[in-house]
Each structure stands twice: as structure tokens, then as C-alpha cells.
Amino acid sequence: MYTASDLRKGLRIKLDNDPFIVTEFNFVKPGKGQALYRCKLKNMVNGNQFERTFRSVDVFEAADLQEKRMQYLYKEEGKYCFMDNESYEQVFLSEDQVGEAKNFLLDNIEAEILLFEDRPLGISLPNFIDVIVTKADPWAKGDSVSGNTKPVTVQTGYQVQVPPFIEEGEKIRIDTRSGEYLTRVKG
């Protein structure tokens, strides 16, 4: 069981017998007033989105979903193919179902595929992945003043803001949940 204060982006809850994922979340509260939890919810089966405001007293069931570890094989005609390495069963996910994870799909990467009654719904990647920087502007010492960041492109084509000292060919760690750069990986 969840209460409204557990709501956050990415949480999966069950409403009216469908699984929903919280796609946007904001805590709103007039100073002396009730806490309100404004959510955008996406039906994980049909993709329908709607907004709903919850209060502290609201409670929800967790969506009972199954996760299976599968390996990313290839992308074809807008579908991403994953395979269960034990049963060799293959499933196909749409662009929508893969979502932001498409930025981090390294070849053969293992991911958790989310299933609801054997239908694939979504994907979750390891929290951290190490990727090679394939495109970066060189570090101009002159603009190393505090606070500067620069965009680089990594091997999956994803663009991310990093500190200015990161150079092409280096390996960096990215948090796949936030999409943010974490640290440089040596060796």
C-alpha cells in the first residue's frame, strides 16, 4: 500500500484495475493549507494520460507487475527486441514503452523488462551505466571558471552535461534514472 506522500515520478500504482505510472509529480501546498500531490498518470497498458490531484489521506495499491531480466538484441522498424536468455522468448517494445531508456541502450545490455499479464510494458535499466564519450569539445583552460559545464555526446548518441575536464574517448558514468552525469570512470 502506498499513501500520497509516497508518490513520486516513476511510481507504479493500481487504479481501477489498471497499472499506472506517475509521469509527472509535484508537491503543492498553500503555506497553511493541505498538502496536495499533483500527478500526471499514464495508463501503462494503453498509454492514456491524465492529471489527478491527491491528498495526504489517499491510499493506493501498488501495481502488481512482473519484471524479467532480458537482453537487448536490436531495433527494427521502431520496435526494440529483447530476449530472455533462459527461455529464448523474445518480446518487442515500442518507442513509447522504451522511453528515455533508449538513450542508454548499449549493445547486449541486460535490462529488466516489465510485464503485465505477459505483455511487455516497459523497461528499466541498471541505475548506473558506463559509456564512452564519442564527441566533446576540448577543454579550453580559459573557461574553466567555476560552474561551467559542457555538452558531450556518448556512444549511444545521448547528449549530457558534464564538467569541462571530460574529454573525447573517456568513459563516464551516467545515472540512467536522472540521465545525469555522475563521475569519470578511470581505466
Binding site: 498553500p30 493541505q34 548506473f128 560552474g147 561551467n148
Partner: protein, 309 residues
């Protein structure tokens, strides 16, 4: 795994410098008017009972959700003009505009009512903005906000009539007041100039005096700018018996909602009869910093958030 994120901290330098300049200007504003700067304990035995504010426990006591209890005791002890810039703590409050630990500027004036505090707000924010280089106008999320005084004063009833899908009375009756206020009214408030939202329903001003000749209205206002709630003010209730009755009612509300209960602030209630008619206000420093630095998230105007510790 060690993660070096000092670059994230250093990226906040401009915002933090501006925040410091702002706090310096606030302090000078009050010192120049002969306000006494006070410090009251952050750890207190009994926070003011509020229906929707939860305190953070600290041992047997609590971290203050607001410095109100102690500051009013000073007021009752004949300190006529006092201010404090301090940390406040509210359990479970975290969002784009909320931190569970945040900074408040709170001030009190004896011998006056909340209208004087509206004048204070106008003068204070104009001064702070000027200190940051804004001459009566600044930009907030692509809109120009003009500070030319006087700022509009709009009653709660009128604001609901103008911006909401139901009247304030109807919203209250259906227990949707806060929701309608937050979702329909607030986003429209102060989009050209700051706005005072005032004359709250009496049940929404637990520490406020009711308006003379209209017991249904609390002498309470909130200051909004660009949809952002900045300050809350009251003409202070000085009737100890009435105050106790309201605290008990609030505590009953809390019990009904399953919220934690707090001891009755007895020493505050004992001091209340000595308090002259006064007015008091709390203004969120982080919110003001967000406003003037044109930041949409409170995280951008503080060095550390709970998540980054």
C-alpha cells in the same frame, strides 16, 4: 563509489551570492527602522497547533515549524518591533517550491494591524529588488513584473470569483478550498505586479484576529508574486481564551486526520493577555530568492537540498 559533484555546487555561485546580498538588504531594512533582531530557539517543546503543518521531532521536543510562539512571547514582554531570520522545519514538505528545512524572515509590529504589514512588504521587496539591481521591474519566467506601489489588494472571495470554477464558500463547504486555491487561483495571482490576497474565511486564520463587525473574516493576508506564495500575515489574536479554544479545535482536527498531536503551548497562552494589539508576518526567504533570481525550483537557490547531503 565516490561521486564528485562539487561542480554542481559551484554552478550555484551566482544564485548564492544574490541570496546573500538579499539577506543583507533585508537585515538593513529592519535595522534602519529600529527593529530589534532576535534569535529564538530552533528546538521547542510545543509548536503552534496547525491543521496542516507537521513538525519534525527532535528528541522529546520539536524543531520549530515557525518562530511564532517565542517571538510573540517577546512581543508580550514589550519588545515592540522585532524580526528574525531563521530556519524553519516542516515534515514531509518537499517539492519545486518546498524544502523541509527552509529560511524565514518573520517580523512583528506592536500597535498596528495587518495593513501596516502590507506597506512593509511593498517597501521591503522594492528595496531588496533595487539592491539586486532591479529598478522597479524584473522579469520572471518571461513576464515583466512591475513593483510600482501600491500593489493590488484582492479579497479571497473576489479572487475565487475571478479565477476559480467555484466560489470560496462552495470550495470551503466541499473541503476543496486548498485545492482550488493552489490549482486555480494561485497560478493567476501577481502576474503583473505583486498582489495581496486578504480577508480569509475565519476558520483559515487560527492565530488571526477576526475583522471588526465581521466575525466570518480573519484579518489575514498572503502576498503573491508571479503565482508564487511569498508571505503570510495576521493581525494577531490576543484573546488567550479564544486562542486556546482554536488550538483545541485544531488539535481535534489533527486527531481526526490521524496527524501527530503536540502539547498545548501553555507559556505562550499565558503570555498572550500581555500582548498589545499587534501584527506579524512570515516571508519565505528562499521563495523571494527564487522570485528575484528567476528560478523555478527552490533547489536552485540553496546550496544543499536534503537529497544532496
Amino acid at each position: 563509489m565516490t561521486v564528485d559533484d562539487s561542480w554542481k555546487l559551484s554552478a550555484k555561485e551566482d544564485a548564492l551570492r544574490q541570496r546573500a546580498r538579499m539577506i543583507r538588504a533585508i537585515r538593513r531594512f529592519f535595522q534602519d527602522q529600529d527593529f530589534l533582531e532576535v534569535e529564538t530557539p530552533l528546538r521547542i517543546p510545543a509548536p503552534a497547533p496547525e491543521s496542516h503543518i507537521d513538525a519534525v521531532a527532535s528528541g522529546e521536543w520539536f524543531l520549530q515549524p515557525s518562530p511564532e510562539m517565542c517571538m510573540k512571547r517577546l512581543l508580550a514582554a514589550s519588545y515592540p518591533r522585532i524580526f528574525q531570520i531563521c530556519k524553519c522545519f516542516r515534515a514531509g514538505e518537499r517539492g519545486d517550491r518546498h524544502l523541509p528545512e527552509f529560511t524565514m524572515i518573520e517580523w512583528y509590529r506592536e500597535g498596528t494591524d495587518y495593513r501596516t504589514l502590507m506597506d512593509d512588504c511593498e517597501a521591503l521587496i522594492t528595496l531588496v529588488a533595487r539592491e539586486l539591481g532591479f529598478d522597479g521591474i524584473f522579469s520572471r519566467q518571461g513576464r515583466e513584473i512591475r513593483l510600482r506601489i501600491p500593489w493590488e489588494r484582492i479579497t479571497v472571495r473576489e479572487a475565487f470569483r475571478r479565477y476559480a470554477t467555484m466560489t470560496a464558500a462552495e470550495a470551503l463547504r466541499t473541503n476543496r478550498f486548498d485545492e482550488i486555491l493552489a490549482c486555480e487561483v494561485e497560478p493567476q495571482l501577481g502576474m503583473e505586479s505583486p498582489v495581496f490576497l486578504y480577508e480569509y474565511p475565519a476558520e483559515l486564520g487560527a492565530l488571526a484576529r477576526v475583522k471588526e463587525g465581521d466575525p466570518g473574516i480573519a484579518e489575514r493576508f498572503e502576498l503573491y508574486c508571479a503565482g508564487l506564495e511569498l508571505a503570510n500575515a495576521f493581525s494577531e489574536l490576543t484573546d488567550a481564551r479564544e486562542q486556546r479554544r482554536r488550538f483545541e479545535e485544531t488539535s481535534r482536527d489533527r486527531r481526526r486526520n490521524g496527524s501527530p498531536l503536540y502539547p498545548m503551548p501553555e507559556r505562550f497562552l499565558a503570555a498572550l493577555p500581555q500582548m498589545s494589539p499587534s501584527a506579524g508576518i512570515a516571508l519565505g526567504v528562499d521563495r523571494l530568492a527564487m522570485l528575484l533570481a528567476d528560478k523555478s525550483r527552490i533547489d536552485e537557490v540553496v546550496a544543499f537540498t536534503p537529497e544532496s547531503l
